[in-house]
């Protein structure tokens, strides 16, 4: 039997506001991300990409339609179920959002602290290997303010990956970076995901990184307009 797809969205609709101010953003969105697949989501500003990502991440409640993420039904799910679901996902934001008063090591460790089960030694060794895997083996005790933009985003990646997420959601992770470090961040993310077989859904405007994807999905006015399929074979 095929394992279930990590993301299955059917006829997902979403609107902000109530009554007169109600503004529908997503219209019958259908999207399936297969195990291990790297999918890029593009589209003009305001087309609803971030909104879709927050729904999948369990950061907003599903209003209409069906959404299953990592086998968990999210439509109608309670807050504790949503929190549980979030913990299985690695988030990477446009801004690194690292806690400014913690060092790189402490920022990464914090994720592991959420699950109290780890011993001090496990915690330290997993943190070290996560930071080493993003090439920051020599920056453990630096605070975010002492790191470059690309290095901060790498810490954010280490933080997202250290908890062994089953899915990675990224929203324009390269937007705040120059093209060179943007490229290396995306490559890093791709390689780490490939190693672990973790699927990625990444929103990006950056045409230069489209080639890392297995598939590019475009959105316009709250609907998915095209699924480009396998990028490499298409080009």
């Amino acid at each position: 039997m095929q394992p279930e797809a990590p993301i299955v969205a059917r006829d997902l609709c979403f609107a902000f506001g109530e009554g007169e101010l109600r503004k529908q953003i997503l219209f019958n969105v259908c999207l399936v991300v297969e195990p291990g697949e790297i999918v890029l989501l593009t589209g003009p500003s305001g087309s609803g990409k971030t909104t879709l990502l927050t729904l999948i991440g369990g950061l907003r409640r599903v209003q209409d339609g069906e959404l299953r993420v990592l086998g968990q039904q999210l439509n109608g799910a309670s807050e504790p179920i949503l929190v549980k679901s979030r913990r299985r996902i690695g988030f990477i934001f446009q801004q690194h959002n690292l806690l400014p008063f913690l060092t790189a090591r402490q920022n990464v460790e914090l994720m592991l602290d959420m699950e109290r089960r780890l011993t001090r030694i496990d915690l330290a060794s997993r943190t070290v290997s996560a930071l080493e895997s993003v090439g920051l083996g020599d920056r453990f005790d630096f605070e975010p303010a002492q790191l470059s933009g690309g290095q901060r985003q790498r810490v954010a990646i280490a933080r997202a990956l250290v908890g062994d997420p089953e899915l990675i959601l990224a929203d324009e992770p390269t937007a705040a970076l120059d093209s060179k470090s943007g490229r290396s961040v995306v490559d890093l993310l791709k390689n780490l995901a490939r190693e672990r077989g973790v699927p990625i859904l990444m929103v990006t405007h950056d045409a230069r990184v489209l080639d890392v994807a297995d598939r590019v999905v475009s959105m316009e006015d709250g609907a998915i307009i095209e699924s480009a399929g396998d990028v490499e074979s298409a080009s």
Binding site: T54, F91, F93, Q94, Q95, N97, L99, P100, D171
Partner: protein, 387 residues
């Protein structure tokens, strides 16, 4: 090795990252703790020093005039009443206590100052006056008296002379006296200093006073009798001419009278409340701006799966840290001020474990309350807004 909860460590790292904020918040707590301890301590010190005399009475039951509101302002009762009380089978002994205010000439500056005078027989006195009874033979000589070593320095270095073994000759109520004895009792907000004399000498100092008019009648009861019951029986027996209460009842009555007449609770209570609010506002301000500044980061933590309760614990930990860091110096400063009060105005102000604990708990509440108010801001940390 047990580790501190993660939320506590994050709280600590957050507050210790900005030393200035830690300093400001802790100073707010220091001021609050100091004010609360000092106000409550001085209030207690004022009460304690005023009831000190009542507390020192070792009589089981006292007989006073119904018009006597305080032992510092007694109305007299006829000595004959006291003799009648002695007839009660449970009464072992009675003793009159005389009280008056005289003027004492500072023999060095020759200036005169008011001083309290207690007339009490040095033969088994029913008052806890260390050393008084041992000096009985000298104090029974005409115009020889004992001086409270803890009297204020306005009377001159009398204590120093006495401790050096010298007697001090001076005038009390314009009559030459020999200060030969010493006791160490302590003054109160009512008196600057005190003399202890035999009834005969009391009469010499206050020739207009009739020894038949007693200020406070002291009663020693049989060992196994209940003072409250004896007081009730004597009260019935002696009639409405006098008021009879147990020694402990007198202490309570003194404290109540003081609190009714002097607005101690209000004045010092207000001071303590002001301290509380200073601490509350400062800690609230700091915690509120901390939460507001870190709202996106808190939202990120929520997005990554941390619960609201975790963030609440982070903020409460910070409040706890401010409490502890502020309490210690506040406590030490208060001890310094207690010492100052004790030496500068001769009013003993003592730290009690009960007060220290109460103020510490209040400090925790104060910071906790600030945190709870600041946390209301946290619910606006929407995890979806971080994208």
């Amino acid at each position: 090795m047990t580790r501190l909860p993660s939320s506590f460590r994050i709280g600590w790292l957050q507050v210790s990252h900005s030393k200035t904020k830690l300093l400001i918040a802790s100073s707010g707590v220091v001021v609050a703790v100091m004010l609360m301890l000092v106000q409550l301590g001085i209030r207690r010190g004022a009460i304690d020093s005023s009831i000190a005399i009542a507390k020192r009475l070792t009589a089981d039951v006292v007989i006073v005039s119904p018009r006597t509101k305080s032992v510092f302002k007694p109305s007299s009762i006829p000595r004959s009443v006291l003799q009648r009380a002695a007839a009660h089978p449970d009464v072992v002994r009675i003793q009159p206590l005389y009280f008056g205010t005289a003027v004492f000439r500072n023999p060095w500056s020759l200036q005169e100052f008011p001083i309290s005078v207690y007339g009490l027989d040095a033969d088994q006195p029913m008052m806890d006056l260390p050393g008084y009874e041992q000096q009985r033979s000298r104090l029974e000589l005409a115009d020889h008296l004992a001086f409270d070593l803890q009297s204020r320095p306005t009377f001159g270095p009398v204590a120093k002379e006495l401790l050096a073994g010298n007697e001090v000759v001076t005038e009390v109520n314009r009559r030459q006296v020999h200060v030969v004895g010493s006791v160490s009792v302590g003054v109160s907000i009512n008196t600057e200093g005190t003399l202890y004399v035999s009834p005969a000498n009391f009469n010499r100092l206050f020739p207009s006073r009739d020894l038949g008019a007693v200020d406070i009648g002291l009663v020693r009861a049989k060992r196994d009798s209940d003072p409250d019951r004896l007081a009730r029986e004597l009260s019935e027996f002696l009639g409405s001419e006098v008021r009879v209460i147990s020694q402990q009842g007198l202490v309570k009555a003194e404290e109540n009278y003081l609190r009714e007449t002097a607005p101690l609770d209000f004045i010092f209570g207000m001071g303590a409340v002001v301290g509380f609010f200073i601490g509350f506002v400062v800690v609230y301000q700091i915690l509120y701006t901390e939460v507001a500044n870190h709202l996106p980061h808190y939202a990120t933590l929520k997005a990554m799966g941390f619960k609201q309760s975790y963030l609440v614990r982070v903020v409460l930990s910070q409040a706890f840290i401010f409490s502890v860091i502020g309490f210690i110096p506040g406590f030490v400063l208060a001890l310094g001020i207690y010492n100052l009060a004790t030496t500068a105005i001769q009013m003993p102000v003592l730290m009690t474990l009960g007060r220290a604990t109460a103020v510490f708990v209040t400090t925790l509440l104060m910071c906790g309350l600030s945190a709870m108010m600041a946390i209301r801001r946290l619910s606006s940390a929407q995890p979806a807004d971080v994208f």
